[in-house]
């Protein structure tokens, strides 16, 4: 019985796979070709952009070293409003940390949007990263430049989900501004941008057009000089 059973699952497994291919054969081939093309094109662009981002972040940290307490940075914890940037080589994504999970919950939540632009809350960063298939997940906080030219992390206002909702309401009230000509991965970084406008009066993508035309979300946000990498935080374990 044991031998027979151990062989049987392979047959079933094949049947399941054949069933899936049978239904979506044409779609599958089209998707594979599209994905390969996209990976090739976007991958080339991403490599260049990633390199420039890393160089930018390094330069930024070094230039501001005299203003930032490195020890404080090393101890940096996730705080509400911290920005999470995730990428997997051909698509990227942006989210925010919601740290109002004090007490019982084990970790801060991650706030992002689905591809329709609706707000979601994920209470398991590990699985969020796994499900997204993100190869890298990096944390950033937004340094606020005060009149004294000191740089301090974030504004005084506490981050909460209600403000994000209200920010989104403003987006929604603007007639489809951000639904037009934008790729599906853009909504989440649009939400991050508008939440920061609403919460801290900071435009994270000042060079981006305000009328909602296509711009290179979320890299425009990532390229903002006020974003500081949280060097010792990661939500990916390997």
């Amino acid at each position: 019985m044991g031998n027979w059973i151990s062989l049987e699952p392979i047959v079933r497994d094949e049947r399941m796979r054949l069933y899936k291919l049978g239904v979506r054969d044409f779609q599958t081939r089209s998707v594979i070709v599209s994905v390969l093309l996209t990976v090739f094109i976007v991958g080339c662009v991403s490599v260049q952009q990633d390199d420039s981002n890393r160089a930018f972040m390094f330069t930024n940290n070094r230039n501001n070293a005299y203003l930032i307490d490195q020890d404080m940075m090393a101890r940096q914890q996730w705080q509400g409003g911290d920005i999470v940037y995730a990428a997997n080589g051909y698509i990227d994504h942006m989210a925010m940390i919601d740290d109002n999970t004090y007490g019982i919950n084990n970790t801060p939540d991650i706030i992002d949007t689905d591809t329709n632009g609706s707000i979601r809350r994920h209470n398991d960063p590990d699985r969020w990263a796994q499900q997204g298939g993100w190869a890298s997940v990096d944390g950033y906080y937004v340094a606020v430049i005060e009149p004294s030219t000191d740089i301090s992390p974030r504004g005084e206002k506490t981050f909460d989900v209600g403000d994000v909702f209200n920010a989104q309401t403003e987006i929604t009230l603007s007639p489809k501004l951000y639904k037009r000509n934008t790729p599906s991965n853009a909504h989440s970084s649009q939400l991050v941008r508008d939440a920061y406008k609403y919460l801290y009066n900071i435009d994270l993508a000042p060079s981006a057009p305000s009328d909602g035309d296509w711009w290179s979300f979320p890299k425009d946000v990532l390229n903002n000089s006020q974003l500081i990498a949280i060097s010792e935080e990661s939500v990916v374990r390997s």
């Binding site: 019985m1 044991g2 027979w4 059973i5 151990s6 049987e8 699952p9 392979i10 047959v11 079933r12 497994d13 049947r15 399941m16 796979r17 069933y19 899936k20 101890r75 914890q77 997997n88 698509i91 994504h93 109002n100 999970t101 004090y102 007490g103 019982i104 919950n105 084990n106 970790t107 801060p108 689905d114 591809t115 609706s118 707000i119 979601r120 809350r121 994920h122 209470n123 398991d124 960063p125 590990d126 699985r127 796994q130 499900q131 997204g132 298939g133 909460d160 989900v161 209600g162 403000d163 909702f165 209200n166 403003e170 010792e232 935080e233 990661s234 939500v235 990916v236 374990r237 390997s238």
Partner: protein
Amino acid sequence: MALKVSYSNIFLLVILVCGCEMTDDKLQNTTAYLFSNCKNTFTVSGSSKIYLFEHRHNSVEFDQLAVFDDWSPISAFLDCAANRIIVPYGARKDERNNAGVAIIDLESGSKLEYPAGARGIQGIPLKYNNGLLLGTTLLNQQTLINNPPLYGYLPPGEVYEDPQRQTYRVFAATTYFDLSSAKFTKDLPIDIGYSVIQNNIIYAKQRGAITAIDLDAKTTDVLYESSGKNSSEAINIPLNHLGVFLDADYFFVLNNYSHNVSNNELQGLEANAIYKLVDSGMQKLANYSEDDAVYLLGLNKKLYIFTSAFKVIEYDVETMDVIERTLPSLSRLHNFRIESVGYTEQNFILALNSQNAEIGSKIMLISRDFMHISPATSVELRSISVTTDLAIDTANTRGIRLAKNKNSL
């Protein structure tokens, strides 16, 4: 010529009949013998496959019954009576809107998917009546009429005002998947967080509180509520602790990742100690030897703490006895760590994840009396979780960690 055709036809017909009979026979055997005792079965799932195993009676030896290619970040489990595997899935890779429940029929091997739409699914599935309660990710805005709402928890400080100055709360609804009709039949206005269910009461560990949600009476009792983020006097339960519900009580242990104040430090609490929530406070029950706890189980009045050095600390909540055991055969598995622990009536099931991303995981069984241990079996999985008929997704009950230092992983 006509005769030849006739013989050929008869020959083909015989082959066809035999073939059909063989196929039928196979299916019958599959149904009858795929597993011999449901109580001894367990599924192991994760990043790429779903495995179905069964251990032998009174033994730690186990056999692989089936393996399916699928992405199952949320626990899959065997529905013995219907001879099928139920696979709640969150968004799959690159399909951020794709979540739902898949059902794999063990008789035919076919899989059907029932999408939950853009809501997303997360947390621990709960078996309820003949269905599943599943946490979702999509946030809903609900105008507050009762404050707090009778049904559903409202964390302190989480009442918001919209631009029209209307107060509201946000929550991720719980959705119910009915297994008999294979449909999502209703949404509940409650956020179940990480929970267990007992007598139709959900004990939920959620934002800042532990609540008892009565599904029949549609009421929510707050059993424990942290005193608020801005309270300077309160001692908060640390982030990154390992917690379990045991008979509606909440127990937890701390590890190297636990902290309740800034600078990653613990204030007012000890590492290597077992705590229980009592009267809205944290009571220390016992200390154990200095080691990093990686997994916590609560079973039959006992807590089992699994550590990074492959020790198991057993704490009896009635007698308060502490027994520490070392599992020497596991310590030979270099660069592996315990990722998930499931259990059957006879055995613990350990899922070990490799520190090396190129290497898959391992499964091994330890008898509940710790007298026997099986050899390790390799599985092609990352992000591994074990589910049995008794325990539905034990992977998340340990809590989730955010790594503070990539090099320490």
